[in-house]
């Protein structure tokens, strides 16, 4: 039985995604992530709780609007030249009233509570696009396994109505959770961010032991797996790391993966950090020469291929 009324915190539902799994898909992004990757382009997905972001360029000014100021119980909105520029996060009680009254997303709520049924109503609307293209649902995040019970109900609801499912996860979780999820998951997309646990920890806040162990576990359990490596220059693109990664995939996993996708790191999300009052710790990467970078990723793909690994560049070549 599916618990249709269970609710969770949803960051966003994106229809017509075509790169996270096969065909035309609806991607449900759940809030909360166990990792804190420095290059993360969706910092608003890290916390499970809803939060308010400030897009100060959009503010109409309190002379023309001012609806938020009237609603805030804590005088937490910071004004400059009669426009909202930030939230005093110390004073803010996260009641969301300011953002609820804002007419134009100057104050935007990240994270809404939705039930399984509310999500499924949207997912079902594009059923015939899935059928024509071999697509379906993708659960992503954050990491959807942070809210794993909620994810499980969504996956069950999909399988009940024969909708293809894909879960994009860091696999930084207990095996029991994987045991619950796998029977309702057609494809798992996961990452290997670094083979050296110290470096992994430096850039993501956690070591890689649990993740690598879980990857072995799901491959052993015959899950269909796509592994992604975000190639971050100066972090994980050195020959040594590539070699060890390739050996892990070829020896420990026997190359039993669907595909290895090498993705370029893009300095996206800088504005979002600022909007949430967070600092961005990947400065300097925007100076990368895109052409050389693209060539480097292609070279890395060839190295992986020499191990018999089905490596490709980009996320749009899924067979």
């Amino acid at each position: 039985m599916v618990d249709k009324n269970m609710s969770g915190t949803v960051l966003n539902i994106q229809r017509f995604t075509i790169h996270d799994g096969p065909g035309i898909r609806t991607e449900v992004f759940l809030k909360g992530c166990p990792l804190q990757c420095r290059w993360c382009s969706n910092p608003e997905s890290m916390k499970v709780q809803p939060e308010v972001g400030v897009n100060k360029e959009a503010c109409l000014g309190i002379d023309h609007c001012g609806w938020c100021v009237d609603k805030c119980p804590n005088v937490a909105l910071i004004l400059e030249e009669k426009k909202i520029v930030a939230i005093d996060r110390e004073k803010c009680s996260n009641c969301l009233s300011c953002a609820t009254s804002c007419p134009n997303d100057t104050l935007k709520i990240f994270g809404n509570s939705m039930t399984v049924e509310e999500i499924m109503k949207i997912v079902r609307s594009d059923r015939n696009y899935y059928e024509q293209s071999g697509g379906g649902l993708t659960l992503s995040g954050g990491d959807p396994l942070v809210q794993w019970k909620f994810s499980l109900e969504i996956l069950k609801a999909c399988k009940l109505t024969n909708i293809h499912t894909c879960v994009e996860t860091e696999l930084f979780c207990k095996k029991e959770i994987i045991d619950h999820i796998l029977p309702y998951t057609d494809l798992i997309i996961t990452d290997i961010k670094h083979m050296d646990t110290q470096k992994h920890k430096l850039f993501t806040n956690v070591g890689n032991e649990v993740i690598l162990d879980n990857i072995k576990y799901i491959v052993k359990n015959n899950a269909d797996v796509v592994i992604r490596i975000p190639i971050v220059p100066g972090h994980n693109n050195d020959d040594e790391n590539i070699r060890i990664t390739a050996e892990f995939i070829s020896k420990e996993l026997n190359n039993r993966i669907h595909q290895l996708q090498l993705l370029p790191y893009r300095p996206l999300g800088v504005d979002k950090y600022a909007s949430l009052g967070l600092s961005y710790s990947m400065n300097g990467q925007e100076k990368i020469n895109r052409d050389e970078y693209k060539k480097e990723i292609e070279n890395i793909a060839m190295k992986f291929q020499s191990y018999g690994i089905p490596a490709v560049t980009g996320a749009n070549k899924l067979l």
Binding site: Q14, R15, F16, T17, I18, H19, D20, G23, I24, E27, L60, H64, C65, W67, P103, N104, D105, I122, S125, D126, N128, Y129, E131, Q132, S133, G134, G135, A315, N316, K317, L318
Partner: protein, 884 residues
């Protein structure tokens, strides 16, 4: 009393002798390619190229610099034609005027007079054959010139000649020599009062004109058939190709002999019609023979042996089909082309469409191929030469139209491939693929290339289409058999005719076989203006002294529409709906009067005897097509702005009645002040915090469904003057820009005079687009509107970024997207494959983007030539990217 055989013979010989002939009998009797191109010459294996050839994105450089075809001949023709500046020609206008005076003096029959005028033009107009072409023939003027049609309207021609010369225009720019100007001004006095438009306005009351585009504050826009010909039809090519002109003449003579009673009004009128029909066909034969002689003469002087042979063949093709039915593919193509041009010379009406090209020509192709008379690559070259001939056709429109619907070109040169046959079976053949490839090899705005699509169509065919769409020319547009066949049946056509449907103009459904005179572009009707009047007690929202009608309307206590209440007093959304329904009934009635009066004027002053000879039904009925001679007779006015109506209703429902954030009075005040002082409300309405059409939300989409249905129901109550029905469409081409320019601010979050939503698309305003859920949600919303009732056509424009459809996966998802949208019984979809950044760059640096083609609406055009307003509208449309 029937006419005796001698009498018939005498009448026929009289016609012939007037045309300077004795009888109907006709008097007489490999290519360079790009390196690496190995054409597939095998019959039955599709086109010359692999079905999955990826053409890549088009080059946006100057078109003159491009060589899109593997055939050197095609590239040579393209280079030549691209370099000809568009120019106005006075020759047809002068010949028409000369003949009008010559035959008008005697009084007599209008239809016979028109036939003689046409024949006079065809006998005397200057003709040319250009280098390299395989198909010859012009529309009464040189290639890329536009002829003038003084008989329809002349005030704008005179005015623009004097005050805003065509060579100074920013859009639809035409050269015009001093001599041409002088000649055209010289006939202005003659045509004043005699032309169709002047006579039409004389039979309408001021009240009827008031809400039309002729009255200043339009609810509806019946311009097209007031200023020019009706067009929007397709000939009975099947019969023409089977019988030839000679066979049709024979049939006319048989009908003439069989007129039962020549003492009656009916009998005499039939005789009048047949006489005119014969005269016009004789004119046509004469034009073909003139091209034959010219080609023969040029062959004599040609030194290049290959070209000499081609000219000889052209001469023999023209000579043979001047009277006889074609025997070969090449002959058939020659007849197909020039016979169509003669329709254009006669009638000026644009959207003379070519019908189902691959079905009509296939028997000739098959026979030639099986008998080894032709190679597939020569067939491809002939088709490409033919496409470029269509691109050569140009039409001059008044400046107002040129700003609003800029760069339409000839207009409606729709050519269709694909689909099922009369028995419902897959009819895809080699010519289907060759037709698609010919667009990839010419990459022109014309023909307006269209394809039918059905779920069971071959995968190869779908891939070929999608790969050509990915080039980014905006062509072809796609039509869904699964929706159009039932819609066509519902309109009253037979199952066989519904399956054999063709597309006319932009997106209009027409029965195949030239059986229909559908007047498919009778008017544009603003659904949003009706809503404006419905929420403001029948007054324009911006009613005031700035209005051009103020002194005779608002200032004297009058208003545009009937009083049906306002947001000041409405207590529920139901009351808004009721008011809209009453206004709708009033305005559709007004429009019907206007359209029918226009039809009457066309039938009286501009019967079309030549076109009628190749429309099925006219000869059998002995009746001209303007008078109802065709088998199917519709009139199609288009509703504009269902998205805008929906979003306005959403804002009213949610903010006034549900959440009570504003009062109705405040909303009206905001609109009258164009949102000044209401910035919060304006931004709120333009945010996703208010529900909007286009996001697959039933609560919002219901108002688009309702707003359209109210219009459909009112339109379908009316009959036209040709014993046919009114059939509503739901699209606007680019009229949404012009309609917006006539309307004040509206509750969908639109500023005054901003464009209204286009066709089935969601609203986009200066703040942004209202659809935020992606292309599947948008398509689902559009499919909720009843496409089976919208019998005159619907239009959905979708823009994808090139990245989104790249590679095999992108291509396959693209095919799936179309299949899934069409599975929901939607009629039509067309695509732009271009980034917003590219469009913005082209607007800024037009010199570097001369070749950038974009899909405007029913047509594609060069982006840098469009008006700023239309460019902005295109940039503002949502581009769907992929999200990774």
């Amino acid at each position: 009393m029937q006419m005796s055989a001698t009498e018939v013979e005498k009448l026929v010989s009289q016609v012939l002798s007037e045309m300077g002939r004795q009888n109907f009998k006709s008097s007489t009797s490999q290519s360079q390619t790009k390196a690496g191109f190995v054409p597939n010459e095998v019959f039955g294996e599709g086109g010359c190229e692999p079905f999955d050839l990826d053409y890549g994105m088009m080059d946006t450089n100057s078109p003159e610099l491009q060589e899109p075809s593997p055939f050197a001949r095609t590239n040579r023709i393209l280079k030549r034609v691209h370099s000809i500046p568009e120019t106005v020609s006075d020759e047809r206008a002068l010949l028409y005027t000369e003949a009008h005076k010559m035959y008008g003096g005697t009084g007599g029959s209008q239809i016979i007079k028109n036939a003689k005028i046409l024949a006079h033009i065809l006998k005397n107009v200057t003709i040319n054959i250009y280098p390299d072409e395989l198909i010859v023939g012009e529309m009464g003027c040189p290639a890329r010139y536009a002829p003038i049609f003084p008989e329809f309207s002349y005030d704008w021609i005179e005015d623009e000649l004097k005050n805003s010369p065509w060579e100074n225009r920013k859009q639809d720019r035409f050269e015009c020599s001093a001599q041409t100007k002088e000649n055209l001004l010289g006939i202005a006095d003659y045509w004043n009062g005699k032309n169709l438009k002047d006579q039409l306005l004389g039979v309408l009351t001021e009240e009827e004109i008031k809400g039309s585009s002729a009255g200043g504050r339009p609810v509806f826009f019946p311009n097209l058939y007031m200023y020019g010909g009706v067009g929007h039809t397709t000939a009975d090519y099947e019969t023409l190709l089977k019988l030839g002109y000679g066979g049709i003449k024979k049939s006319i003579v048989e009908h003439l002999s069989k007129i039962e009673d020549c003492t009656t009004k009916e009998g005499i009128e039939k005789r009048e019609f047949y006489t005119a029909a014969l005269i016009s066909l004789e004119g046509a034969t004469c034009l073909f023979k003139r091209y034959a002689s010219l080609a023969a003469e040029m062959a004599e002087n040609e030194i290049n042996s290959e070209e000499k042979e081609i000219l000889k063949t052209i001469a023999s093709n023209c000579e043979w089909v001047s009277e006889n039915p074609p025997r070969t593919f090449w002959e058939a193509m020659q007849l197909y082309h020039l016979a169509t041009n003669i329709i254009l010379i006669e009638s000026n009406g644009h959207s003379i469409s070519y019908g189902r090209f691959d079905q009509l020509l296939y028997p000739f192709y098959k026979k030639d191929m099986l008998e080894n008379r032709i190679t597939k690559s020569r067939v491809a070259e002939i088709i490409e030469s033919f496409y470029i001939k269509i691109f050569e056709l140009r039409k001059l429109r008044d400046e107002g139209t040129a700003v609003l619907n800029s760069e339409v070109g000839m207009g409606g040169t729709t050519l269709l491939v694909g689909g099922v046959d009369k028995d419902g079976k897959d009819a895809t053949n080699d010519l289907t693929y060759l037709g698609i490839e010919a667009h990839a090899h010419t990459r022109l705005t014309d023909p307006w290339f269209a394809s039918r699509w059905f779920a069971e169509a071959p995968w190869e065919f779908k891939v070929k289409l999608v790969n050509v769409i990915k080039i980014g020319t905006g062509q072809p547009k796609l039509f869904n058999d699964a929706a159009i066949i039932p819609a066509s049946l519902a309109a009253g056509r037979s199952l066989e005719d519904a399956r054999d449907y063709t597309m006319v103009g932009c997106v209009e459904i027409d029965s195949g076989g030239g059986k229909e005179y559908g007047a498919h572009d009778a008017a544009y009707f603003s659904l949003c203006k009706v809503l404006e009047l419905a929420i403001n007690n029948g007054r324009c929202i911006d009613c005031g002294s700035q209005c051009i009608n103020w002194s005779k309307c608002g200032a004297v206590g009058l208003q545009l529409g009937p009083k049906t209440g306002s947001l000041d007093t409405f207590k529920s959304i139901e009351e808004v709906k009721e008011s809209y329904e009453i206004q709708m009934s009033y305005w559709v009635d007004r429009m019907a009067t206007f359209i029918n009066a226009t039809e009457i004027m066309h039938a009286r002053t501009k019967p079309l005897p030549y076109l009628s000879t190749i429309k099925r039904g006219c000869i059998d009925n002995g009746l001209d097509c303007t008078a109802g001679g065709a088998i199917y007779n519709f009139a199609g006015p288009q509703g504009v702005g269902p998205g805008a109506v929906a979003d306005a209703m959403c804002a009213i429902k949610q903010l006034i009645f549900d959440e009570k954030k504003v009062t109705g009075t405040e909303m009206l005040d905001a609109l009258r002040k164009d949102w000044v002082g209401y910035e919060g409300l304006y931004n709120l309405i333009n945010s996703d915090r208010v529900m909007h059409y286009g996001n697959d939300d039933d609560n919002a989409d219901q108002y688009a469904v309702w707003g359209s249905k109210v219009y459909f129901d009112e339109v379908m109550k009316h009959q036209n003057t040709r014993n046919g029905k009114f059939l509503p469409g739901l699209y606007c081409v680019s009229a949404n820009v012009g309609i917006g320019l006539c309307q004040g601010a509206s509750p969908d979050g639109r500023r005054a005079y901003e464009a209204v939503s286009n066709s089935l698309a969601p609203v986009h305003t200066m703040v942004g687009t209202h659809d935020v859920k992606g292309p599947t949600a948008m398509a689902n919303s559009a499919a909720k509107i009843d496409h089976l009732i919208a019998g005159n056509g619907t239009l959905l424009n979708v823009r994808f970024s090139p990245n989104c459809v790249a590679g095999d996966n992108g291509r396959n998802n693209f095919v799936s997207y179309i299949d899934a949208y069409f599975d929901k019984k939607a009629q039509h979809v067309q695509f732009n494959i271009v980034n917003t950044e590219t469009l913005k760059a082209a607007q800024k640096n037009p010199e570097q983007y001369k070749g950038l083609l974009v899909r405007v609406a029913g047509y594609s055009a060069y982006f840098v030539k469009l008006s700023k307003e239309l460019q902005d509208d295109l940039i503002g449309r949502k581009a769907y990217d992929s999200f990774d």
